[in-house]
Symmetry: C2
Subunit: 350 residues, 2 copies
């Protein structure tokens, strides 16, 4: 068998290896480190190629490619969204990603991204809260206790320093699942019967529910002065969680306005509804939290640059480790013009 050269082999991180990597690094440490990569990329926001995502819609779902590049590396994520999958025992969302070298065009990493997306989403929320939440925040209300809830909680613990999470979900089984998973993780967990109970004493309100509809998870009179709202669940057209009145009282921070106006909570508002881009808060160009009375709101929808940061992180972290398998994915004839000769010689070798 012909042995492919080093560059023809692409490191691949399987789901199993991603889980091993998380345990090897420690989930909180990994969330901190991924948040650091995202923060670094938000600081150099302007140099990114911000291509819109390329969506292929069908009656039952969507398949999207989300590419971006910083001029040195190029990354994309493949992600599907099929709400009906759950009832068929399949995942609503699956994802994988690829990083390539812009200078050669050669892929340098292929990785599962379902777990990695959960990690980067939580890391992004916590990074935003670090800039926007009241100083000394200790308590988070977690409204919606699905797949993202434990990751959000641990990221807010590791990066913002919360010590208590107050859980609420319309489905009690989800709250039980989340509480069970968080037991012994170093954060005090309170199961709540109503959203109001969950929000009691909380400085950070995280909403992350699953229904694809314009729901009112938080109504205007539920939200007091001074809190930070981390709104994660309003992330596609027709899916929002907050009453418009909250958005009017809050200062709203977003990733990429062009995308958030279509997919985020602010799809409810006028096209010129004022927002601040999070990257400008991080560089210091714009003010984040001004005072104790202000309601800050991160309207997070997930942006390609966060995936890019996560891909960069995994590339750096798996280099030279056992956490990647080498995939023979790129044909590599000795003479580039002699692809056919490579094919013929492989027959002789076999």
């Amino acid at each position: 068998m012909t042995q492919p050269s080093d560059k023809a082999l692409v490191p691949f991180v399987s789901v199993d290896n991603m889980m091993r990597l998380v345990h090897h690094i420690g989930i909180e440490q990994m969330l901190i480190e991924i948040a650091g990569y995202i923060e670094d990329d938000f600081k150099r926001w302007e140099l990114f190629d911000k291509t819109p995502r390329v969506a292929s819609h069908s009656d039952v779902g969507v398949i999207e490619l989300m590419p971006t590049s910083d001029g040195e590396a190029y990354g994309f994520k493949y992600v599907n969204g099929h709400p009906k999958n759950t009832s068929e025992g399949l995942q609503t969302v699956t994802a994988f990603g690829l990083l390539a070298d812009v200078y050669t065009g050669y892929p340098v990493l292929l990785t599962e991204m379902t777990l990695l997306t959960a990690l980067r989403t939580a890391a992004t929320s916590a990074m935003a809260a670090k800039y926007l939440a009241p100083k000394g925040a200790t308590t988070m209300a977690m409204i919606g206790n699905g797949a993202q809830s434990e990751f959000q909680t641990l990221a807010m613990k590791a990066i913002v320093g919360i010590t208590e999470v107050r859980l609420y979900d319309t489905d009690k089984a989800a709250t039980e699942k989340c509480a069970r998973n968080l037991a012994g993780m170093g954060v005090s967990v309170v199961k709540c019967a109503t959203p109001e109970e969950a929000m009691h004493g909380a400085q950070i309100l995280t909403t992350c529910t699953a229904d694809k509809k314009n729901a009112t998870i938080l109504s205007d009179n539920m939200v007091g002065a001074g809190v930070h709202i981390n709104a994660i669940g309003g992330d596609c057209p027709g899916k929002t969680e907050l009453a418009a009145g909250i958005l009017e009282r809050a200062d709203v921070f977003v990733e990429f306005p062009e995308q958030t106006r279509i997919e985020g909570e602010i799809q409810q508002m006028a096209e010129d509804f004022p927002v601040t881009e999070l990257w400008e808060v991080i560089t210091g160009a714009k003010t984040g939290r001004r005072d104790d009375k202000q309601i800050t709101l991160f309207d997070g929808v997930g942006f390609a640059i966060e995936d890019f940061s996560a891909l960069r992180y995994v590339r750096d972290r798996v280099k030279g480790t056992e956490f990647a398998d080498m995939l023979d994915m790129l044909a590599d004839p000795d003479d580039p013009r002699d692809l056919f000769g490579m094919l013929q010689r492989s027959k002789v070798a076999a």
Copy 2:
């Protein structure tokens, strides 16, 4: 270790396995079969989602994603183009592709596509020639003896029935390489010192040179009546091979006019230069070759649907064989809301 379910595993065809598959099926048989898949997809051309390719340009090259869908399957190809790579011992073009199920959004095939692209390009040319070349064509001039030349020759042998190929390249070493690779393959090979000598007695003229410039590989007075020109090398902006006079005398057939007017030979012509879409010839809606005097010209640039056909073919052909490895690429928790629990249990299991 947690065992992922069947659907979470994605069949992967490595370069090595693709070469084994070619030898297992036989290259001519495989070219015939791929051409059959492409022909089937050209017949149902109108139902495809024809998204433009998504390109990320840099000073030294381009990285592109080429997605398409027929409503049942979704495919995309990743392909780079870096002309300067050759001088650094790397491939100008590398490619891989993915096929997914539109109904679930789950990937069903990941495969190398450098070899596969070479095969589908040759299969497409031969399929076009089957409809457009003079009946009973026996001789092809192959102008440009690089990586695509052997594949073109064997596809024209297998699908159109040519028995002689006449080789010409400005680089004699390329001609020697091509002649060596084609020795004993059942086609008579003639090495020629000039393009004119290569075209002597040929009913099919294939141009496939590598220079990225507006070159005149064929000038007007070199091309006589009745031939079929298979123009493969004019495939990106600023790269053409034929004199405009030839295009004016010929009936020009293209894959997707919107793309060919930018990338093909017809980029030299006015925006309303008349062309016929190849798929309409294949369905019988339009006429291909009318008479013995007509010059037909296939201005091939390579279109996403051809990659899609090739991906469908590989998916069908590797099913249940040893030619695919199963990649653990999709996270698959028993309870979709319990991604975190899957992660925790993997720690216990390890």
